[in-house]
Amino acid sequence: MTRGRLWKRSLVVALLSLLPVIASGCAVIGGSPQSVNRPAGDSMRKIWDLFVPIFWLSVLVFVLVTAILLFALWRFRRRPGEDRRPEQLHGNTRLEIAWTMVPAIILAIIAVPTLSLMFELDREPGPDALTVRVIAHQWWWEFQYPEYNVVTANELHAVVDRPVRLEMDSVDVIHSFWIPRLSGKRDVIPNWDNVLIFTPEEVGTFSGQCAEFCGIQHANMKFRVIVQTQEEFDAWIRQQQQPAAEAPADPLAARGRELFLTPANACIGCHTVAGTQAQGKVGPDLTHVGSRGIIAGGVLENTPENLARWLRNPQEVKPGNKMRLPRQLTDDEIEALVAYLRSLQ
């Protein structure tokens, strides 16, 4: 077998081995709860619609370049023993002008919709928009609804087909707010009060996470956006506006409340439960923690088992997070605290 044929054969093998990867890739992408090719908000839908034609233009350019490359390599290859010196061609000005103009035209085609969509995405919404203040903390999210006087954590509730206007600030380092299926990213920078506007177009729960490296638990700074109908949202707001339950009837939960409010246990140093002396602002507001689906920056589902696991050793679940217990809690105490936290509906 000659060298040339060996080369050709291995090239074919290499290209063929890549084809299934690419083909199956196109079939298998889109299966994630964060897949952007299934947009559920106006921003991401427009971005995806802008991306698709750019993508096909890119494919065209790549296929063109690679086809010319492979054809040239094959057509002008030197055969074994061949010793020819081709014409010493230095260039061709007309060709140069042509292949300067063609990319310029392609880019102009991309630039126009790019710039117009960019301005459109930043356009202020109408007066019906829902305003939410987003406060990023190392490694969880706080959501405030100023017009309803509601504060919650890690779960952002929004209304389908109603624009959301997020006003974002960070208490520590730079973060970035990203719910892939609804919108693009916007960094959350201390003192910058960045704004992100989008309109959810589907009812459902959408996962998102911090997209700017922000320290040891960057990977576990997750959150959800729960898109509801106006009625569901109103009901949720009404529930969140209730004051926290007074001393619960369940004796276990009552003991948990007592433990929670005991200053030596340090819970109230960081957490707020409205209507009690717990007014800490470092950790998530727990007034209605029992009504939430996730805890600890989206690391855990909010189940009694997970709450207990978290209270047993938060540093084991999420190493480096800011919650430090003054002492190891006993199993009884944990059970009582879990009962109390679950009662905070």
Binding site: P33, I68, G91, L95, V173, A219
Partner: protein, 646 residues
């Protein structure tokens, strides 16, 4: 007198091999030092990449904890950029530029040695952080205020990063200055700017980029240092500072840095494709000017790394437009490389295969770069795995594939031995397949909304398959890289029998023996056109420009470049009498001690940040300063014409 001078120089060169390498000021030896040092760092950086891919191979993996993972990805990026690709480029600058322009050395040989030692010691300072369990963990981009505040990054991690990069920055700046002066001043007679090999052109453009871009990084790092050490508040929002200022300073450096990493490889490609096609580079002038346009525009695109920062639509529109513009000269280069192959007599050597695959792979990285230029699309793609795919197609599919081509192409010139072609081709195919298997699926992960820099992901995210494929590809890539080392090490055990011109080369380095003698050219060559050596071999169909005036061109030139022959020096063919007149700069210890003093200053600052040894910090810094001052005095007064005293 000449006899005694020659004897003296020979005596100086016959010291022990270790001392010879430690004190060398020979650009070829320094190039070889850069070469092996950065290849060693390539193994470290590659190992870190394998750790990353092992951690992400399955969801919720516990192979590395979050702390270790953040250190590993930070050091992977920092090492690959500052300790691998830049110094590998520098290895080829050092070895090739004087040969290609017909010079006997660089303009400032001792400064050149200093650059290498500062690079080595700065790298070791950075890498020593592993020994103290405090490897940098703030990302290679080191965003403030996460990095600038001891509240958010206690420990020595970021201190190692800041001090290591500062030392490396000094090395890089000195080197850039050296090559700028060398290329402007030390070209052989007849080597006009537009006759320079494109690799030399790209070296010149890169030197300018470094000189203009690195100060911005230096300033930013000084500000982080002051925030961390001396209580300033440049990036502290609580005191009215603004962390985004760091992003501007960093990316004004960081985007030109991308071209600092890719332009020299583009120059390598522009030498290798013509040789194996036996045709001149198509559109030489356009390729050279495209390089300059890219360099110019690269200072006006930095905020495309910051589209999601919220600078507002108007600044984003400006930077989107300039970013798209930069694609035009890049496209021109790609088409000219295709034009070079077209109609050639292409020899399928390993170097050519790597160079040709560069064109295809870099095109993928280039067009996904155009996607990022579309701001709304970037709102999605930035900080997702789509970007990770993109820049690996640029930096691996671009820079590293071209550097691999360059290794196969110039290894015979550097070491006098031909690398094994069969092993080389195996290396090539494994690399190409492994590379695409690793990085192409990351585009899919980007579409599936996987963010960068996450040490873990949960099983219900649907990211397992492509992470698994990418990890398998990474292991393949690691294995293929080992093949390169096997090839190099086995080749080095063979006798040095490479011919002076194994590839039918076109540029001056192929006119002299492999490896070249210490003085490079017995007789300084006279250049009669572009592709100077090709013209000498085969004659020019049309010689571009007027024939050079020997003596006119000589005036103001390096006085040590004696000789009056009118042809390209063919190594041994020149008379020995002339070689005796050649003065080579004597070896010196001062570059090494200056670099050591500089690094000691950085190390002292790190010590100052410790809890237990803080009081030793400033005395160590003082010792470093004293060492630098004494070394520079010695350097200044060191006789460089010692033979006249003999």
């Amino acid at each position: 007198m000449v006899e005694s001078a020659l004897k003296l120089e020979r005596a100086r060169y016959e010291r022990s091999a270790l001392v010879e390498w430690l004190t060398t000021v020979d650009h070829k030896k320094i190039g070889i030092l850069y070469f092996w040092t950065s290849l060693a760092f390539l193994l470290i950086g590659g190992l870190l990449a394998l750790l990353i891919r092992t951690q992400l191979i399955v969801p919720e993996n516990t192979f590395l904890g979050p702390e270790a993972y953040n250190e590993v990805f930070t050091m992977h990026g920092t090492i690959m950029i500052f300790l691998v690709v830049m110094p590998l480029n520098a290895a080829f600058f050092n070895f090739l530029v004087p040969l290609m322009i017909g010079a006997r050395d660089v303009a400032f040989p001792r400064l050149n040695a200093f650059s290498y030692w500062a690079f080595l010691f700065g790298s070791l300072l950075l890498l020593s952080s592993f020994l103290f369990g405090a490897a940098p963990d703030g990302g290679w981009f080191g965003y403030a205020n996460l990095t600038s505040s001891r509240l958010y990054s206690p420990g020595l991690n970021i201190d190692f990063w800041v001090m290591g990069l500062q030392v490396l920055g000094v090395a890089t700046l000195a080197s850039a200055l050296n090559f700028f002066v060398t290329i402007v001043n030390m070209r052989a007679p007849g080597m006009s700017l537009m006759r320079m090999p494109v690799f030399v052109w790209m070296t010149l453009v890169t030197a300018v980029l470094i000189l203009l871009a690195f100060p911005s990084l230096t300033v930013g790092l000084v500000m982080i240092m002051f925030d961390r050490y001396f209580g300033t508040n440049f990036f502290n929002p609580a005191a009215g500072g603004d962390p985004v200022i760091w992003q501007h300073l960093f990316w004004i450096f960081g985007h030109p840095e991308v071209y600092i990493l890719i332009l020299p490889p583009m120059g390598m490609i522009s030498e290798i494709l013509p040789t194996f096609s036996r045709k001149p580079l198509f559109g030489y002038t356009f390729v050279v000017f495209a390089g300059m346009v890219i360099a110019f525009l690269s200072f006006g695109v930095w905020a495309h790394h910051m589209f999601a920062v919220g600078l507002g639509p108007v600044p984003n529109a400006v930077f989107a437009t300039t970013t798209m513009l930069i694609a035009i000269p890049t496209g021109v280069k790609i088409f000219n490389w295709l034009g070079t192959l077209w109609g050639g007599a292409i020899e399928m050597k390993t170097a050519l295969l790597f160079a040709a695959s560069f064109i295809a792979m870099f095109t993928i990285g280039g067009i996904s770069g155009v996607m990022h230029a579309s701001v709304p699309v970037d709102y999605w793609q930035t900080d997702s795995y789509f970007v990770v795919a993109h820049f690996h197609y640029v930096l691996f599919g671009g820079s590293l594939l071209a550097i691999m081509a360059a290794i196969y192409y110039w290894f015979p010139k550097m070491f006098g031995r031909m690398l094994d072609e069969r092993l080389g081709k195996l290396h090539f195919w494994l690399t190409l397949i492994g590379f695409n298997l690793t990085f192409f699926p990351m585009h899919f992960l980007g579409v599936d909304g996987m963010p960068r820099r996450v040490f873990t992901y949960s099983a219900d995210m649907g990211w397992d398959l492509w992470n698994l494929v990418a990890s398998i590809g990474a292991y393949l890539l690691g294995a293929s890289t080992l093949l390169l080392f096997v090839n190099m090490l086995t080749t080095l055990r063979k006798p040095a029998d490479a011919p002076a011109d194994p590839w039918d080369g076109r540029t001056l380095e192929w006119a002299i023996p492999s490896p070249p003698p210490a003085h490079n050219f017995d007789v300084v060559p006279v250049v009669r056109g572009r592709d100077a050596f090709w013209i000498e071999k085969y004659g020019a169909e049309e010689v571009v420009g007027p024939a050079p005036e020997r003596h006119g061109a000589e005036s103001g030139h390096n006085p040590h470049n004696s000789g009056s022959g009118n042809e390209v020096g063919h190594g041994s063919s020149a008379g020995h009498g002339q070689a005796a007149h050649i003065h080579l700069p004597p070896p010196s210890w001062f570059p090494l001690t200056t670099a050591a003093g500089l690094t000691l200053m950085g190390a002292g600052m790190v010590v100052h940040a410790t809890e237990s040894l803080a009081s030793l910090g400033f005395p160590i810094v003082g010792l470093g300063i004293a060492m630098v001052v004494v070394s520079l005095l010695g350097w200044t007064f060191e006789p460089i014409h010692e033979e006249s005293h003999a």
